[in-house]
């Protein structure tokens, strides 16, 4: 199988598998609450329903409103080319950018979504985009510190190099490594609109962050935005799992075939299931925090990242 075909497989896998994660989380949350809950394939049905419908455009909006859904949809797919989703060795386009540029590409998608929401002129969409900007701004230092800490270990920011270094015996169990991973998980929860920052199942407009940005979108564009959001979470979790914490089960160099790729996909989905279980526990036990306490939450993630970086110096793993 050619390298470009494998790269295409990675992107396609992200595209196809990403709605599964929110589906599984939603079902598990309902089971925890002693309900049966929707099928884990409900997000696919929602997307299919929305894709069949037409879109309505607010009268005073400009081309930004129409461009934003495409940006939100394409940016996670671009990042999927840069990171080890299925293969442990770099694929042809992997050197287009490092983890920092991956973060910036995801940030661009989120920024354009916010601008599109502002462009719609809706009050709630404007409020949601301003809030999501606040969350992203506060999360930025943590992301940079995590990347900085990881670079200290690996002397590289290319994800394919980083995951090989971090899986080594001395680093795998070191405290700083896990503090950095914890900081990144907290940021991922914040960025993907999960409790304690945002409640994904809330129907109360005044408390929404992520969901209110899509208020004025309908039909096909709403589907693109939702799908883009799901892929964004999927890509972020893949970075956490396959780059920072447990880069096992990837296809080794020279062993690429349909069978091994499917195995790697199953391994990634299994690891995602573990994180999804953790998210379900968090969302079932913790209440959404007040908006003005979000700096505290992200402050703690910054603290974890800072401690991880300091501990790397203090314990001498960052040689």
């Amino acid at each position: 199988m050619s390298l470009v075909a494998q790269q295409a497989c990675q992107v396609l896998f992200v595209l196809v598998a990403s709605p599964l994660v929110p589906g599984v989380i939603d079902r598990a949350k309902h089971i925890v609450q002693s309900k049966r809950g929707p099928s884990i394939f409900q997000p696919y049905r929602d997307l299919a329903r929305l894709l069949r419908k037409g879109s309505i455009v607010p009268e005073d909006s400009s081309w930004l409103f129409r461009a934003a859904p495409y940006a939100a949809f394409i940016t996670p797919l671009a990042v999927a080319m840069l990171i080890p989703v299925l293969t442990s060795y770099p694929l042809p386009f992997a050197f287009m950018g490092d983890m920092l540029s991956g973060g910036f590409i995801l940030g661009l998608g989120s920024l354009l979504t916010s601008i599109g929401a502002l462009d719609s002129g809706s009050v709630y969409a404007g409020m949601g985009s301003s809030r999501s900007r606040v969350v992203s701004t506060l999360a930025e230092p943590t992301v940079l510190l995590v990347l900085f800490g990881v670079t200290l270990f690996a002397h590289a920011t290319i994800p394919f190099v980083v995951n090989q270094t971090l899986a080594g015996p001395t680093l795998l169990l070191s405290a700083s490594h896990w503090m950095l991973a914890g900081a990144l998980l907290m940021v991922i929860l914040a960025e993907s609109g999960r409790i304690p920052v945002d409640n994904p199942s809330s129907s109360y407009e005044l408390s929404m962050i992520e969901h209110s940005r899509t208020f004025e979108y309908s039909g096909r564009w709403l589907a693109l935005l939702q799908w883009g959001g799901q892929m964004r979470t999927f890509v972020l979790l893949t970075i956490l799992l396959n780059v920072l914490t447990v880069p096992w089960g990837l296809v080794p160099e020279g062993a690429a075939s349909a069978g091994t790729l499917i195995l790697a996909a199953a391994a990634l989905l299994g690891k995602m299931a573990v994180v999804a279980a953790a998210i379900v526990v968090i969302e079932s036990t913790v209440a959404k925090w007040r908006f003005f306490r979000i700096p505290e939450y992200l402050g703690v993630s910054l603290l974890l990242a800072a401690l991880g970086t300091i501990a790397a110096y203090a314990t001498g793993v960052a040689a």
Binding site: T170, L173, S174, A175, S176, W178, M179, P295, E296, G299, V300, L302, L303, L304, A306, L307, I310, A311, Y313, A314, T315, G316
Partner: protein, 214 residues
């Protein structure tokens, strides 16, 4: 493997300490202190297993008894007698406190990195103990609730204990016994004092103590 487990526990120790910095309610302060003491006891047991110093097992058991059971009990009793207040008031907000705590631990790690080599201790553990002492002092300085300040004092003591573990793991258990007794007496006395102050000024806010001036 032991070294990594040791580092993991020390990281947990620092996180438990920072739990008290990021706490809103008194129960969170006490919970953070309990977590700190449990990790400290586990650290002592791990050191005993790796270095063969049997005294440390006794020290760990005493730590569990005094700091995980007795001291929190007294603290909770004192806190229960105080009026219900919404959270601990502080001279610094929580995000600022957390940032200050980061700064203090950076300072501690920088300060100990050269010092630890000269005394033959692990740089990481020495740094953790010094940052606990600094953070404890910081809590005493900025928090305005007496029980929170007491937790700051206890954090400082835990920090020095962590330092002893890093520097002199073979110390006899009698020393730690004396220290723990001291701590217990201090907590009881402080508890009494808090109750008495509360009777006079009806608050546990130390800023209100100025009212006591004649």
């Amino acid at each position: 493997m032991t070294l990594q487990a040791l580092q993991m526990l020390e990281a947990l120790l620092l996180l438990a300490t920072l739990r008290t910095v990021g706490a809103h309610r008194l129960a969170d302060y006490i919970g953070g202190f309990i977590l700190q003491s449990v990790v400290l006891a586990a650290l002592a047991v791990l050191l005993a297993a790796s270095s063969g110093a049997a005294d440390l097992v006794v020290v760990a058991a005493m730590t569990l008894g005094a700091k995980v059971y007795l001291v929190p009990r007294i603290l909770r009793r004192v806190a229960a007698e105080l009026p219900v207040e919404r959270g601990v008031r502080s001279m610094l907000g929580l995000p600022a406190s957390i940032l200050a705590a980061i700064g203090l631990s950076v300072l501690a790690f920088l300060g100990t990195s050269t010092l630890a080599e000269s005394v033959g201790a692990q740089a990481g553990s020495f740094g953790v103990s010094l940052s606990m002492v600094l953070i404890g002092l910081f809590l005493i300085t900025v928090r305005r609730h007496v029980v929170a300040q007491l937790v700051g004092l206890l954090t400082m003591e835990n920090g020095t204990f962590a330092g002893t573990l890093a520097l002199a793991p073979r110390m006899p258990w009698v020393i730690e016994f004396a220290i723990l007794l001291d701590i217990l007496v201090a907590v009881v006395v402080m508890g009494l004092l808090i109750t008495l102050i509360h009777r006079e000024v009806a608050t546990a806010d130390t800023a209100a103590l100025r009212q006591l001036r004649g």
